[in-house]
């Protein structure tokens, strides 16, 4: 079947088998490899994207469900070739090691800070509890979130 999706503000279409996930469609059909596949079961958050503005695990969504709808991926986060402040903060805080979890975390943090620009530590932990990282022990990811939150509110 042919699936047509508006990805990062651009209409794209490709042929997929009916059982294909949105993640497979984005990666293997559209060449958008930023969303990662680490579990295919909705457990790790590495594949998170926005579907019609809602953050979803793209491994759990069928490509067909995104047909004629709007998807935003980590590749759509930068504006004018400039890193998003959350991306900046991840690099600066040392929240990236192997980086495999990073795109998923970056979009989850973007979602969080959009809803709650000044989240409490407990809120941050809860919001990111669906994202696994095997390298960092999460401490520097928490640092990155507070850094990003303060920067996005105009702090330094």
């Amino acid at each position: 079947m042919v699936v047509r999706v508006k990805v990062n503000n651009e209409w794209r279409e490709a042929e997929v088998w009916p059982g294909a996930s949105l993640l497979t469609f984005l990666r293997d059909r559209l060449g958008l490899y930023g969303s990662k596949n680490a579990c295919e079961q909705g457990e790790c958050g590495s594949c998170s994207v926005w579907l019609e503005g809602a953050l979803v695990c793209s491994c759990l969504v069928l490509a067909a469900q995104a047909h004629e709808r709007e998807v935003r991926t980590v590749e759509g986060l930068m504006a004018d070739e400039r890193l998003h402040p959350i991306q900046e903060a991840f690099v600066e805080a040392g929240a990236v090691q192997c980086g495999f979890c990073t795109p998923g975390f970056v979009v989850a943090v973007a979602e969080l800070l959009q809803k709650d620009p000044t989240p409490s530590p407990a809120t941050v932990r809860e919001a990111l509890s669906g994202n696994l990282c095997r390298c960092t022990g999460y401490q520097k990811i928490l640092d990155a979130v507070s850094l990003a939150s303060s920067r996005m509110r105009g702090g330094t």
């Binding site: 088998w17 059982g19 990666r27 293997d28 060449g31 490899y33 930023g34 969303s35 990662k36 596949n37 680490a38 579990c39 295919e40 079961q41 457990e43 790790c44 590495s46 991926t73 980590v74 590749e75 986060l77 930068m78 890193l83 991306q87 900046e88 991840f90 690099v91 600066e92 040392g94 990236v96 090691q97 192997c98 980086g99 495999f100 979890c101 990073t102 795109p103 970056v106 407990a122 941050v124 932990r125 809860e126 990111l128 509890s129 994202n131 696994l132 990282c133 095997r134 390298c135 960092t136 022990g137 999460y138 401490q139 520097k140 990811i141 928490l142």
Partner: protein, 729 residues
């Protein structure tokens, strides 16, 4: 990744990761992201039986599926039929016998991954189940069927130190167990094999050690090594899981047969079958001490389950046994270690490599001994701590620094987190948090400490080295340094360290790292906390050679032709152990100590780790932020082993091969980690820096379980500790 960095700091500064920007953008190419026009997808058929004879195999139906381009079995392996890091005893594809559930039996290449998987189901294999050995003690019984012709013992060693009959005033004894842990790197095993015009193959691969892969691939593919070219692809974590070959040979076989590029990328479930795990261990120990708390005699028996093939079991049991007495001076000891074959999945390298299991046992013993002597546990440890010059049970003296006391004292000086009342607390901060299961009526707090150590680099006479090439030129943007090694940044940050070294040695801002491949000499593995020492050392030497030539030519400003140099770094040589386990086996050591504060809900058996504190001997921190990242990440994996991570095996079958069932710590499980970096430069190592990846993983499991014992008064002799072990106190 070719990275261009400017204006970054040198050695000792917390400079940003050189690969940080592509990684946050989602633009960094991992092996699972590799693709080529016209590529095929490979898939692997695995044995459902832990031990069985293969009576017959019929691939014709699979080969007939439209879109399937090749179906290969053992008969198609071009060269040597087996591979392995130490002993080549694992079949590339099983021939007559399968020795574990998950062993590779056949491989398929097809036009897309769905077709490849569908074709696997059409391969008919007729198995005759054989008696299985799925328990490590059963493997040693006379009646146990031999899993390999030489029997079921992979390696057995005995370390005899002083007079093992020596009498002591006080004895304590215990049995301890640790489970099979999975490295669970988030990036799956993946690679892309591309057939070359010269009849050879190019493999783009996520690995820890390009040249060890090459050394196993070339004979299996029956190609001269120069026709098997490995190129590093992006690595999504490793932790030991990528030390052994997984899909490398299979992808190359399929590419060579089909003459098309072939990609293989495991899913999470297959990843649990496709790599080795941390050895489960059963350890008996008996510690004897004088009335005033000096260790007199340590007796230990360690048994580890190596699973179906050798992998790195000989080195793991060598480590576990040589560290069994802990970071303490003891005049007399008898330490016996045995690794066995079973029909469980093969075990091999994982962060901490034998030292983790030993520490879990010896630190539990030290707490028991402290209780028996009525001494403070830290005092007992301080009284017996190793120091520079101490002689280990192997007879090896500690030549370098050994800040065991400093590690313990730094922890001692840290205030404990304040006790919080359970009543007015956010339920998320109770054990079981997100489950909202309890109200904290039955909370009990516990504090535990552990200290431990581990070797850096390979041991027991392994001839270890790393090669680096450095070239300096001047173009219209100014001076440029280019560096090439075969060393792998698995996420630990080696590429950043290398650029810092180049900047410090050459004073050049612009550094380009060439992509590692097998065209240069081996860098050894990104394991055993060795790359900063080994590849860092090689890069330093190459830079110094280039620097000398630049100076000879009158300095950078006058440089007319590019200057380049290659250098190989060797660590000091070590030796094998003799029949009494005596020798000079280890290059040097890193020490660490951890303190865990836990809360146990006594009714539910649920645990909240309130805080971890780790004091670690790092020699010198070349990039402090990245050292902290290693300590924190290593602590998380230690917490996982203590509380939740275990491959559940039932009769040799993995029952939890998914992230739904195999739990790794989430952000809710991880407490704040307070890291105390202890810098005492190690003589003889580049910049005095020790590897930093492993000590926290070695000590945290022991500290967490010690804290649980403190909270509950239970013996808790097995990790991971399950709620059932804690309920109904």
């Amino acid at each position: 990744m070719n990275v261009d960095i400017r204006r970054q700091g040198g050695v000792g500064e917390s400079v940003r990761r050189v690969d940080g920007i592509p990684k946050v953008k989602g633009a960094f190419e991992y092996a699972s992201d590799l693709h080529r026009d016209g590529m095929l997808w490979g898939a692997t058929l695995r044995s459902p039986h832990p031990h069985a004879q293969i009576i017959s195999m019929d691939v014709s139906a699979a080969a007939a599926v439209p879109g399937v381009v090749a179906v290969l079995t053992h008969a198609d392996v071009p060269g040597k039929p087996t591979f392995g890091l130490d002993v080549q005893d694992q079949p590339v594809l099983a021939k007559d016998v399968v020795r574990y559930a998950g062993e590779a039996v056949a491989i398929v290449a097809a036009e897309d991954p769905e077709l490849a998987r569908a074709a696997l189901e059409k391969i008919a294999v007729n198995y005759k189940p054989l008696t299985r050995v799925t328990d490590m003690e059963q493997a040693l019984e006379k009646s146990a069927p031999p899993i390999h012709p030489q029997g079921n013992i992979v390696r057995s060693l005995t370390i005899v130190h002083g007079d093992p009959q020596a009498r002591a005033d006080v004895w304590v004894e215990g049995m301890y167990e640790t489970g099979m842990q999975d490295q669970a790197p988030l990036g799956p095993e993946a690679g892309l094999a591309v057939p070359a015009a010269d009849g050879g193959v190019d493999l783009f691969i996520a690995t820890q050690w390009l040249h060890a892969d090459l050394g196993q691939l070339a004979p299996c593919l029956d190609l001269p090594p120069e026709k098997v070219r490995l190129h590093l692809s992006g690595v999504g974590g490793a932790f030991g899981a990528r030390e052994d070959v997984s899909m490398q040979i299979h992808a190359c076989m399929l590419a060579l047969r089909t003459r098309r590029p072939v990609k293989m990328s495991y899913g999470r479930q297959e990843s649990f079958y496709g790599h080795v795990h941390r050895h489960p261990a059963r350890i008996w120990m008996r510690h004897g001490a004088s009335r005033d708390g000096k260790l007199v005699n340590i007796q230990a028996r360690l048994l580890v389950d190596g699973g179906a093939y050798t992998s790195t079991s000989p080195a793991v049991i060598g480590n576990a046994t040589s560290f069994a007495a802990g970071p303490y001076e003891v005049p007399n000891a008898r330490l016996v270690g045995t690794a066995v074959f079973t029909n469980n999945p093969p075990c091999g390298a994982m962060r901490g490599f034998g030292a983790v299991q030993a520490c879990f046992a010896y630190e539990a013993q030290m707490d028991k001994l402290a209780a028996a002597l009525n001494l403070d546990p830290i005092e007992l440890r301080l009284k017996n701590a190793l120091r520079s010059g101490s002689v280990l049970p192997t007879g090896q003296p500690i030549a370098g620094v050994a800040p065991v006391r400093a590690c313990l004292q730094r922890l001692q000086a840290l205030p404990l987190p304040p006790e919080e009342s359970a009543l007015d607390r956010d339920p998320m901060l109770l054990p079981g948090g997100a489950g909202n299961v309890g109200h904290g009526e039955a909370l009990k707090r516990g504090v535990g400490i552990a200290v431990g150590y581990k070797n850096l680099g390979y041991s027991e006479g392994f001839d270890d080295s790393s090669e680096a090439w450095v070239r300096v030129s001047v173009d219209n943007e100014g001076p440029l340094a280019e560096v090439k090694t075969a060393a792998v940044d698995v996420g630990q940050g080696l590429d950043t360290i290398v650029t810092q070294i180049v900047r410090s040695e050459l004073g050049i801002d612009r550094v380009i790292l060439r992509q590692p491949d097998t065209a240069i000499g081996s860098a050894g593995s990104s394991s055993a906390s060795r790359q900063t020492m080994m590849t860092g050392g090689a890069v330093q030497l190459a830079c110094q050679a280039v620097r000398a030539e630049i100076d000879r030519q009158g300095g950078l400003a006058d440089l007319r032709r590019p200057v380049e140099a290659s250098r190989v770094f060797h660590h000091r040589s070590t030796g094998k152990l003799d029949a009494n386990g005596q020798g000079d086996p280890h290059v040097t050591f890193a020490f660490g100590a951890a303190r865990a504060v836990v809360e146990v809900d006594q009714e539910l058996g649920l645990v909240r780790v309130v805080q971890l504190a780790v004091a670690q001997d790092v020699g010198r921190a070349l990039n402090p932020q990245s050292v902290l990242g290693q300590i924190e990440g290593g602590s998380a994996q230690g917490l996982g082993l203590a509380l939740m991570e275990e491959i559940a095996l039932v009769e040799g079958q993995v029952k939890n091969a998914s992230f739904t069932d195999y739990l790794i710590p989430t952000i809710l499980d991880m407490p704040p980690v307070i890291s105390e970096i202890i810098e005492e430069p190690e003589p003889g190592l580049p910049y005095g820096a020790k590897g930093v990846g492993e000590p926290s993983t070695v000590v945290v499991p022991a500290a967490v379980v010690a804290a649980l014992r403190h909270a509950t008064g239970r013996e808790l002799r097995r990790a991971p500790v399950k709620p059932d072990d804690l309920v109904g106190l």
